[in-house]
């Protein structure tokens, strides 16, 4: 049977940034937790929508024509194929949900920020 997952516990075990860890699977989607700080690379995911839920802090998501700003308890779904760039001026803690197998940098898998997600 699946584990009960404490988001705070999982996030407390992460001491780096931009490296999502898988904490649950729901149908063919992975639920991940990640700490973000600074500017990520502009990228897109051709084959999956990507949900961002902020559990602590403030996250900007730059989109082609606008910036969305998410605070604790707010979520936003970046549609597949839409270029975006997460930006965190201070460290923030985020839940990501996206198709299993998604690489964090999408079409920019040449980035030094590319990290395959592992289970935590």
């Amino acid at each position: 049977m699946n584990s009960t997952v404490s988001l705070a516990d999982k996030l407390g075990r992460i001491d780096d940034h931009w490296s999502p860890r898988i904490v649950a699977q729901l149908n063919d989607q992975h639920v991940k937790v990640v700490k973000l700080l600074g500017e990520f690379v502009w990228h897109e995911h051709a084959d999956t929508d990507e949900l961002f839920l902020v559990v602590h802090g403030t996250l900007h998501i730059d989109l082609p024509d606008e910036r969305r700003t998410l605070r604790t308890g707010e979520l936003f779904v970046v549609p597949r194929g839409v270029r975006h760039r997460p930006v965190a001026e201070q460290e923030c803690q985020v839940v990501l949900i996206e198709a299993a197998g998604t690489v964090n940098t999408g079409d920019r898998s040449d980035s030094e920020l590319t990290n395959p997600a592992e289970w935590l």
Copy 2:
């Protein structure tokens, strides 16, 4: 473009129990919010896993051989085909994620608690 969703705002607009509202779609999954109080009906979903994330309060999920207790910030995925019964001794606020089109009472669609989910 999708809306930015505040969970607190959406939950603040709900004044009933056991009636999930859809607040976002991620690939073929619906993200819902719901307030729970009391004992739900035992049921199962043959075709979808179901994620419960407690955003406020305490939720018990009775399973065939055990009871899981989730507190604020904890999540659990009930696998498809597993009978379960949510129980909330006091009102709790929950995010549900499951396949689009899922009915809350699963195979017990004859229940008086059956509620088709609508967008909020």
